[in-house]
């Protein structure tokens, strides 16, 4: 039911945006801006720059509203514009990946425990800490669901480069998760000792 209601609202807003109705544009912005800002923050480390990317994306959304055919969801269409804009921003700032050898992690962390313990903000900080090249590929593949072929086309790299960037990004993130786990273990053992 809620899906239908949103679709109805979307079509109403889209019609308004096509008429350059400021009120409809404002409603679209109010509804989607925080989610799209979240997307920008995953790709662009600096918060101010991320907001700039989000704002530019929305101006493009309103400019190109005539190009939206209604094939997919309106949110998906906006999201694609935002991701493209973020990639353009990173490319412009020449944030290229530095190919460094990263050692594979020794063991697998307990993802269930991590899922319970970690907040979105912690994971966001980890993604933001990745080098830009790894960050782009990891975001595109793992979170936004792009294929290696699409990533290769988007970034102008080969599919193999995309795959290797992804595995390096994963290795970096896994190491950070392990470090977190180790910290918790140390803390919990020290608590037990104090209690004992």
């Amino acid at each position: 039911m809620s899906f239908r209601i949103y679709r109805a609202k979307d079509t109403e807003w889209i019609e308004g945006c096509r008429r350059r109705d400021a009120q409809a544009q404002r409603q679209v912005f109010d509804h989607y801006s925080s989610r799209m800002y979240g997307v920008c923050c995953r790709y662009v480390r600096d918060k101010m720059e991320a907001e700039d990317v989000m704002i530019t994306s929305f101006t493009k959304v309103f400019e190109r509203i005539g190009q939206f055919k209604g094939d997919g969801s309106f949110e998906g269409w906006i999201r694609r514009i935002v991701v493209n804009e973020a990639l353009t921003h990173l490319r412009r700032s020449k944030a290229l990946a530095v190919a460094t050898d990263i050692e594979e992690a020794d063991r697998e962390p307990d993802y269930q425990q991590l899922d319970n313990a970690l907040e979105a903000a912690d994971l966001l900080a980890m993604v933001q800490a990745l080098p830009a090249g790894y960050r782009m590929v990891f975001n595109l593949y793992a979170i936004d669901g792009y294929s290696h072929q699409e990533i290769a086309e988007q970034l102008g790299i080969s599919e193999n480069t995309s795959k290797s960037q992804l595995s390096r990004a994963r290795a970096l993130l896994q190491r950070q998760l392990e470090e977190l786990e180790n910290e918790w273990k140390i803390k919990s053992t020290s608590h037990e000792q104090q209690a004992g």
């Binding site: 912005f29 109010d30 925080s34 991320a50 989000m54 704002i55 966001l124 979170i143 896994q174």
Partner: protein, 217 residues
């Protein structure tokens, strides 16, 4: 392994929301308005450029023909007044070309028609020039013209040959607008033609577009 890691991040971050700053919407609407105004300015500039080009194509040929016609009487008086005096003294030499012309163009009525045709436009031009209220120099020109036409018809026979050549050129030209424009440009390049760019510039500067400085209170 990788699937679990991906899933952890996807579940937590795919619907991540971050509240934008308070002025975010204002910046979006401003950016949109700016783009619109840029387009408006571009459109206005394009329209202005089109008008200038269209205006040039329409008005240039007219500007070109009138100065040439005005130039004729200023050139005319000198040979017209001097030549008869010389022609009278050196009659055998000067009359030869006149005879040749008469032999070539046998029917005399045609010449008469040409004379009539040639005199008429001069008069009309003189009238238009007077209407335009160009001052002392043009007034002198009109006076000399009347003297010429009134003085002696015999003098006109000499002047016709030279006038025919001069007037024939602008009559042939109007075939193509671009040709006329090209001719006009060539005249400017060679320093010929009564284009009056300098006068135009001086008039333009005389308008004085500078803002009047208001004294600070």
């Amino acid at each position: 392994m990788s699937n679990k890691l991906d899933k952890l991040f996807r579940d937590k971050l795919s619907d991540l929301t971050v509240t934008p700053s308070a002025d975010a919407w204002a910046r979006v609407s401003q950016a949109g308005a700016k783009k619109n105004s840029v387009w408006m300015w571009r459109m206005a500039a394009a329209v202005a450029a089109m008008l200038v080009v269209a205006g040039a194509l329409v008005w240039w040929p007219e500007e070109e023909t009138t100065p040439v016609a005005v130039q004729e009487p200023t050139v005319m008086p000198a040979p017209a007044t001097v030549q008869p005096a010389v022609a009278e003294t050196q009659s055998p030499v000067k009359t030869e070309p006149a005879r040749v012309v008469v032999q070539k163009i046998q029917p005399q009525p045609v010449l008469a028609v040409e004379v009539a045709n040639m005199v008429e436009p001069e008069e009309t031009i003189a009238e238009t020039v007077v209407e335009e209220a160009v001052e002392s120099t043009v007034a002198e020109v009109t006076v000399t013209q009347r003297e010429e036409t009134a003085a002696a018809p015999v003098v006109l026979v000499y002047t016709l040959e030279s006038v025919e050549e001069e007037t024939a050129a602008p009559v042939e030209n109007p075939a193509g607008t671009w040709e006329r424009v090209a001719q006009f440009a060539r005249d400017i390049k060679n320093g010929e033609g009564n284009v009056g760019l300098r006068d135009f510039k001086e008039e333009l500067f005389a308008l004085n577009f500078r803002k009047k400085e208001t004294p600070k209170q």
